[in-house]
């Protein structure tokens, strides 16, 4: 089995080998070989940007379908709060939750409920001085993976608290077990996901171990069935237990606002996030205690598996929150250890380094610089690597050859032509 699981999949028939995803990938994890996009597994953080940008719809995220829930005695849906921003004229999230009930889920537990618990726990741990400042949120799995492969000095700053999805899955399952007496395996807990990164997290958690979720279903996948059901509801059941703090997590800044007054920074969009992390690593960001980072623009509402424009969704979420109580979920007697990471986040050095042996790595870099100096520097991507520098790296690693560069090839052909001409 491959060491790394990725939810991003390629439909090879639709991929024409253009350079859109190649140029968009924030970790330079894509190469085009034989006119098909390939993912460098150790570098991909499953942010989903390649899915978003592909004009040929050749990329998609592997996620579960409603058929997959059928094998379980009790089917549990844990919807991300971003789901509530997807519907026009929605004034009550119970309509969405009842809709989920109608399309086959027996039990609904909003992830926003767990988000309120995570917020409270974070506030407590900050007050008790138990977290390394500045604290980086661990909620967005693409960000945690990015830090794991690119920012060794920041691994200790990521808050060691499970993401609300995991906390919600555990609480929901425990509740169903208590109510029904069924065993764990008879209950299927499915996350209704706005993004590909969460699908990966469900199938292969960044910190190892096993997710509390049995699967993840894309919002975009259940959207048609769900809206249909929501349009034909006879009664709206009072299922929701979320306050405005939890639902606010759907958009960038929501988690920070839930810190209630800490000095915070909230950045969204993967390029912006990378710039913040670079500055953080160099000690340039002062006077900030809490840092919320979301890979998608606008936050989770900008996830690549949502259907609505993120800013429209954001406006709807703000509107919904107006009528909600502040928070309906409190830690009380909950087991805090269950909400904490079981392991530390460790840096994965192999994603970007040239070689384990520094002498060899230096030698390779020397060669890279020499090759790079001879390349045109257009970063056109025609060779299949995102930049000339990346191509030089691929050559040194033995994964590409100089004539993959069309300008180098042209030069060579011209030389051969000139030589032939002279001999005639």
């Amino acid at each position: 089995m491959n060491k790394y699981f990725h939810s991003v999949e390629l439909d090879a028939d639709k991929c024409c080998g253009c350079t859109n995803c190649l140029k968009r990938c924030p970790t330079e994890a894509i190469r085009i070989h034989n006119k098909k996009a390939q993912i460098l597994s150790e570098r991909c953080i499953d942010c989903g940007e390649c899915i978003r940008i592909c004009p040929h719809h050749a990329k998609h995220a592997h996620s579960n379908t409603l058929d997959d829930i059928k094998g379980y005695k009790v089917k549990v849906a844990i919807p991300a709060p971003a789901l509530f921003g997807q519907f026009n004229n929605l004034d009550d999230i119970d309509i969405v939750l009842t809709g989920l009930h109608t399309i086959g889920f027996d039990y609904i537990f909003e992830v926003s409920r767990a988000a309120e618990l995570v917020s409270e726990l974070t506030r407590n741990l900050i007050r008790e001085n138990k977290l390394n400042k500045p604290i980086i949120s661990s909620a967005c799995p693409a960000i945690v993976r990015l830090i794991k492969i690119r920012f060794p000095e920041l691994c200790d700053n990521v808050m060691p608290i499970l993401a609300p999805m995991e906390v919600a899955a555990k609480l929901a399952r425990d509740e169903v077990i208590n109510k029904t007496g069924l065993s764990r395996d008879e209950i299927g807990v499915f996350f209704i996901t706005p993004c590909a990164a969460k699908v990966t997290e469900v199938n292969s958690p960044t910190l190892g171990g096993k997710s509390e979720c049995d699967g993840a279903i894309a919002i975009s996948k259940i959207y048609p069935e769900l809206t249909q059901a929501m349009d034909h509801l006879k009664v709206v059941e009072p299922l929701s237990h979320s306050g405005l703090i939890g639902v606010g997590w759907a958009t960038s800044g929501g988690e920070s606002a839930a810190m209630l007054g800490e000095k915070y920074l909230a950045a969204d969009g993967i390029e912006n996030v990378i710039r913040v992390l670079e500055e953080l690593e160099d000690d340039h960001i002062k006077d900030v205690d809490f840092i919320e980072l979301n890979a998608c623009s606008g936050g989770c509402v900008g996830g690549v598996l949502t259907v609505e424009n993120p800013y429209v969704a954001q406006a709807r979420i703000q509107n919904l929150r107006k009528f909600m109580p502040v928070s309906l979920n409190h830690l009380e007697d909950k087991n805090i250890d269950d909400m904490m990471w079981k392991d530390e986040l460790t840096f994965n050095a192999e994603s970007f380094r040239l070689d384990e042996d520094i002498i060899k790595a230096m030698d390779m870099m020397e060669q890279m610089e020499q090759i790079c100096a001879t390349l045109p520097g257009l970063d056109c991507g025609s060779c299949g690597a995102p930049t000339c520098r990346a191509m030089a790296e691929d050559i040194v690693k033995g994964n590409a050859k100089e004539t993959d560069c069309i300008f180098k090839l042209k030069e060579k052909i011209q030389n051969v032509y000139d030589q032939l001409k002279n001999t005639l």
Partner: protein, 141 residues
């Protein structure tokens, strides 16, 4: 070990937004080499401070970086006014930066003290009216 990777960067004197470009590029190179993360961080911070110094006080300059397997050596050189009193400049909080620079959040008088703090060796050669050379060494663990 004699084998080193040499890098050379110009630091433009009139653009704050580009100060830090050289330290950023060096950081990237060191990461690709799989260098000791703590050393990478210290090199990046010290170099950035020195780059900012060159922009504020000396209208830019250049830096030469030598990466060895066990250490990074950096030379930052400018043709600025020189440092009148090195001892004073090394004191925390002492600054000769003009007000417009301070308004941008720089000029807190922490530049040289911070550089010293993050490096294993630091040497200043300065001559009034001629310029300043700053030699830095950061050891890898």
């Amino acid at each position: 070990m004699s084998n080193a990777i040499h890098l050379h960067y110009e630091v433009p004197g009139d653009d704050f937004t580009r100060a830090g470009e050289a330290s950023g590029l060096v950081k990237k190179r060191l990461k690709v080499l799989g260098y000791d993360p703590d050393a990478i961080r210290r090199v990046a911070i010290a170099m950035y401070e020195a780059e900012i110094n060159m922009v504020i006080h000396a209208n830019g300059g250049y830096c030469d970086v030598d990466i060895y397997p066990d250490r990074v050596e950096v030379l930052l050189a400018d043709s600025g006014p020189g440092i009148e009193n090195v001892e004073k400049a090394m004191q925390e909080g002492y600054s000769t930066a003009p007000d417009n620079v301070r308004n941008l959040g720089f000029g807190a008088g922490m530049g040289l003290p911070n550089i010293k703090k993050y490096t294993d060796d630091m040497r200043i050669e300065t001559e009034l009216g001629v310029g300043t050379k700053l030699y830095l060494t950061v050891n890898a663990n």
